[in-house]
């Protein structure tokens, strides 16, 4: 997450002390061989001495599971994100949904804290949570089966002219967003959850995404997408009143929840290659070097949309992505938390890459749709991007220790305060 005030330049600075020490420890384990490795392993499984405690392994880091909101939204984005959509079986009724969510919640509560799930057949894989979060979302049919009141925006987005949507990347009844700094942790959590979901639902689609590996760049550095752009700068910052207002919904069973829009957007890297650096920066309205607006010098400088060139053109072009994505209406804002994807190239091409665009907002119709509509009408970036998947989910609030995710919908329980 970009922390406002963190200058773009500071992202390039050296490692922090602890990160550096962690790196050195990692090197020792890999390089010196079995004896050291066993030592490190042993250290993990015993009460840490003060010295060991000062070099925490990132694999041991946990994100709390229970609370007012589900984790994985205001959580500093982890390196690996897996998005899985499920289709409910025809036989799955309201009671079954409660049983399913109870079991999946129990799995997530244990795995995110570094404990094996119940009946975990590979319990050792659970011992390095690496900031694992599991975030559950419900599609329109889930809420209908639950006989709950669906928010008006819980439906497929209106179709846009840029869309080339494929059913195999669209829609779904349940969303699992599984994210951690370790891909093995993600794979194990996904397998455990899917095993426990299989008597209620089947896998509809699955999308694997990544950001920089943990420790490659300073924590808090805004991510880069595969166009090389700094992507996420003008997001509301978690922990601020602004973020809370953009993201959290306050209505009924959904209080403390939000919505997720998940769009798979292909990025034509071969075509992008033909564009020079100046053209690339004009397309977005920001510099590639550090993400600063074309009217500024640091990443978090406010763009000046009024500034003009000596011959009278706007410095940040009218057709640029940031100009078009920014609304005059402060209600029309979203929180983006996407991941890159890089598929196996097909048909003689050398790449098939893009962005798993993920945004959270209290109300899809009020916040997301106006932005996407404007981008559909005009956005130079559309020359190189094409949406090939789209899904909308309601993200229920978090749960307390004696509850489960979705209990406010499925049992009428009060949301945790």
């Amino acid at each position: 997450m970009p922390a406002p005030g963190t200058g773009a330049g500071s992202g390039r600075g050296g490692m922090t002390g602890s990160t550096r020490r962690q790196f050195l420890l990692g090197g020792a384990v890999a390089g010196v061989g079995a004896a050291t490795a066993i030592g490190a392993d042993h250290a993990l499984n015993t009460t840490p001495s003060t010295e060991e405690a000062s070099v925490p392994l990132n694999g041991q880091e946990t994100v709390p599971f229970h609370g007012t909101h589900q984790a994985g939204i205001d959580t500093d984005a982890q390196a690996h994100g897996l998005f899985v959509a499920l289709d409910l079986l025809d036989t799955t009724d309201r009671d079954d949904l409660a049983r399913m969510m109870r079991i999946l919640t129990d799995d997530a509560a244990r795995l995110t804290q570094g404990s094996p799930a119940l009946a975990d057949s590979e319990p050792e894989l659970a011992l390095s949570p690496a900031r694992l979060t599991v975030t559950f979302g419900f599609g329109p049919r889930f809420v209908a089966r639950a006989q709950g009141e669906a928010p008006g925006w819980l439906k497929a987005l209106p179709s846009f002219t840029v869309d080339r949507l494929l059913p195999e990347f669209s829609d779904g009844d349940v969303l699992l967003q599984i994210a951690a700094d370790d891909p093995l942790t993600v794979a194990h959590a996904a397998r455990m959850l899917l095993k426990d979901a299989r008597s209620f639902a089947s896998v509809r689609w699955s999308q694997q995404g990544f950001r920089r590996a943990h420790g490659s760049v300073r924590p808090g550095t805004t991510m880069r997408n595969l166009f090389g752009q700094v992507d996420g700068t003008s997001n509301p910052a978690p922990g601020t009143a602004d973020f809370d207002q953009v993201v959290w919904n306050g209505e009924g069973w959904l209080a403390g929840g939000t919505s997720a829009v998940v769009r798979r957007i292909g990025m034509d890297l071969d075509k992008w290659d033909r564009l020079d650096r100046g053209g690339r920066e004009q397309a977005v309205g920001r510099f590639l070097s550090n993400g600063a607006p074309l009217t500024g010098t640091n990443e978090f400088d406010e763009p000046d949309f009024e500034a003009t060139t000596p011959i009278g053109f706007p410095v940040i072009p009218e057709f640029s992505h940031v100009r078009r994505a920014r609304s005059e209406n402060p209600a029309e804002r979203i929180f983006r938390r996407g991941y890159n994807y890089d598929d196996r190239p097909a048909g003689g091409a050398v790449s098939r890459s893009g962005l798993i665009f993920v945004s959270f907002q209290a109300d899809v119709a009020r916040q997301f749709v106006p932005v996407q509509t404007r981008l559909d009408q005009l956005d130079l970036l559309n020359e190189w991007t094409v949406p090939i998947g789209s899904a909308v989910f309601v993200i229920p609030p978090g749960c307390s220790e004696d509850g489960f995710v979705g209990d406010t919908l499925l049992t009428g329980k009060q949301a945790p305060q």
């Binding site: 919640t105 119940l118 057949s121 008597s199 049992t411």
Partner: protein, 208 residues
């Protein structure tokens, strides 16, 4: 949640327990579901001894990470860690649940042919003072010999253990979808009904 199960050790009286065990399974599941988040939970313990001593086996034992394998019909098995926090060894001599008309306490051993088989353990499960007995696939377990209804993933099932001092301990555990626990069974029943399609197809009895 903490990593570990939350064990609520309520000192429910035997009267309450007798009443609850005689309710329909469905009602029990519903009641359990309200109180639980998919965790094994202690419901209550009784002292069976006439003297009413405070340290009966039923009061010293608690289960953690308990679960039972989902199955359509036939057999299944329950697992978890039974910890004896008392100062004397305890022995589980039998188990009951509304989910199965018959239960056995099983161990898994190697037969003359070198195969792992499960069979009723002689003398019950002994849990030494201060120790934990792990009930796990491929090891000791509580065998549900004949399910009364399908055990569906996410349901909660109540069990009552009876100890050699006649005290009891009641707990509920969730049902989990699990494909392991398919050891061969050599027991009194010559043709045990199979717990699930897989186990039935390859002709082996299922542990759970």
């Amino acid at each position: 949640m903490n990593n570990q199960l939350t064990i609520r050790q309520s000192k429910t009286q035997s009267k309450t327990m007798t009443a609850s065990t005689s309710t329909r399974l469905g009602a029990l599941l519903a009641a359990a579901a309200l109180a639980l988040a998919g965790c094994g939970t202690t419901v209550g313990a009784t002292d069976g001894g006439a003297d009413g001593s405070a340290s009966s086996a039923g009061q010293s034992v608690a289960i953690a990470d308990g679960w039972v394998k989902a199955a359509g019909s036939g057999m299944s098995a329950a697992f978890g860690g039974l910890t004896n926090s008392g100062s004397g060894d305890v022995t589980v001599v039998s188990a009951t649940t509304e989910a199965s008309s018959m239960l056995e306490l099983h161990e898994t051993v190697e037969n003359e042919a070198g195969e792992m088989i499960m069979r009723e353990i002689e003398g019950g499960f002994v849990i030494p003072a201060g120790d934990t007995l792990s009930l796990e696939p491929g090891g000791n377990h509580i065998m549900l010999m004949d399910l009364t209804d399908p055990l569906e993933a996410g349901e909660e099932v109540a069990f009552t253990l009876t100890f050699s001092d006649e005290s009891t301990y009641e707990f509920t555990v969730p049902v989990k979808d699990y494909s392991g626990a398919n050891e061969n069974y050599v027991g009194g029943d010559p043709e045990p009904e199979m717990g699930d399609a897989d186990a039935g197809a390859d002709g082996t009895g299922t542990e759970g």
